[in-house]
Amino acid sequence: MRTTFFLAALCAAAVAFAQAPKGSIAGAVTNPNGSQAIGVTVNAKLAGSTATAKATTAAGGKYTLADLAPGSWDISVNVAALRGFEQKNVTVEAGKATALNIHLEEGTQMSTLGEDTLAAMAHAKRHNAPTGPTPRTAEGKPDFSGVWWQPVVTDPGKPEWLPKAIEIARERTENNRKDSPQAHCLPSAIVRARPLHQFVQSKDFLVEMFDDDSPGFHQIYLDGRKHPKEPDYLWYGDSLGHWEGDTLVIDRVNFEEAVWLDQDSHPHSDKLHIIERYRRPDMGHLEQEVTVEDPGVLAKPWTFKRVAELGPAETIREFMCTENNRDLVHMVGK
């Protein structure tokens, strides 16, 4: 009897909550230059809940997130090539509209033509991943050959950086990354997702080629060789691949000290060990699961996942970084 009464009370409470008056959040979104940002998605998540909402800005850059349960909502806006906007704990009250205007700020590209939001949108329009079964080699293994668009992170994982790594990353960031190897036409960060890259695969060898970074290729050996006992320290690490069923497992060690680990400017130690698992579940997609082990900078292994789409109409070009690198003399730190 008591149980029945309790359940009935719970149901009544749930119904009452569902029927409680809702509130809303509304405002306008502006671009870095102050112009209206039209067609931008504003995301909302109720704190401590899985409830989400989204709205798209229309004329005047205006949006309304309607029918929101009263409470604290986290608001975010992400536009390619601009700095992500986030505001937590926006209060929604029953029957009221909370005003929230959002001003987007420049990201790392500072809207430079060819690398700005318009370019990102134009690139996205060229994506047209073909359908079809996984292409296979003569040995029956998945063939990763093809030109692939920049992979999209599907699971960023939860890296737990050690204090020393955080400090170094902060110093590098405060100095505007002016000392990054990439700015000096040396290889970019190890786990950076390349804008466009090509794989050419044979039985014993997989080579990754790209045209926005030096030297433009990365070799992965599939012939069963072992990591050398007396290693040479390499900017891309010594990369060896072996098959586990239809998954190519790539083992990378012996990294050059000067290379940066990620785009957040974290360093690595001499204990860095990266394991990549590549799968091509169908013609148009290349899945990567990357595990970064480095007890010198991470409290525990960090695993993230990303997926690249095939770009069959694209071509990798030539990239001579040092031919006219005029930026170095103008770059300033903090």
Partner: protein, 135 residues
């Protein structure tokens, strides 16, 4: 859920997560340019350098007194621009243009190009060449 639906759903979610990875980032523009100092320049193109890691062009800008200053403007990489349909001939010496950008932090006559508009109103290097630039 079919594979295609699965990846579409992932893409919808992942677009929000991918923003940390810019289209291309040879160097941090914040190291070189000041987002608090926008500048607009009008003048005549004197040279286009279609080179890596960043294409750049030069503009003679005349001030009110008639004195001419040659400015350097930086674009994205030629490979990225070519994928969008632009070429080394999209801008030529002699073209009259108005360019908007952010000033170099070190005080030199240098800015990154955020917008390039020809005398006839045509936008260059914006989005895809086939779309004739942005709205």
């Amino acid at each position: 859920m079919s594979i295609r639906q699965h990846y579409f759903a992932l893409a919808v979610v992942a677009l929000g997560l991918s923003i940390a990875a810019p289209v291309s980032a040879h160097h941090s523009f914040a190291a070189e340019y000041d987002s608090k100092k926008p500048v607009t320049l009008s003048g005549t193109v004197t040279k286009m350098e279609w080179t890596n890691p960043h294409a750049r062009f030069y503009v003679d800008v005349k001030d009110a007194n008639g004195a001419v200053t040659n400015w350097e403007l930086e674009l994205g990489s030629p490979n990225g621009l070519m994928r969008l349909g632009w070429t080394r001939n999209s801008l030529k010496a002699g073209d009259s243009i108005t360019v908007e950008g952010y000033l170099a932090k070190d005080g030199s006559k240098l800015a990154n190009a955020r917008s390039v508009v020809m005398g006839d109103g045509k936008k260059v290097f914006a989005g895809s060449s086939s779309e004739e630039g942005s709205k």
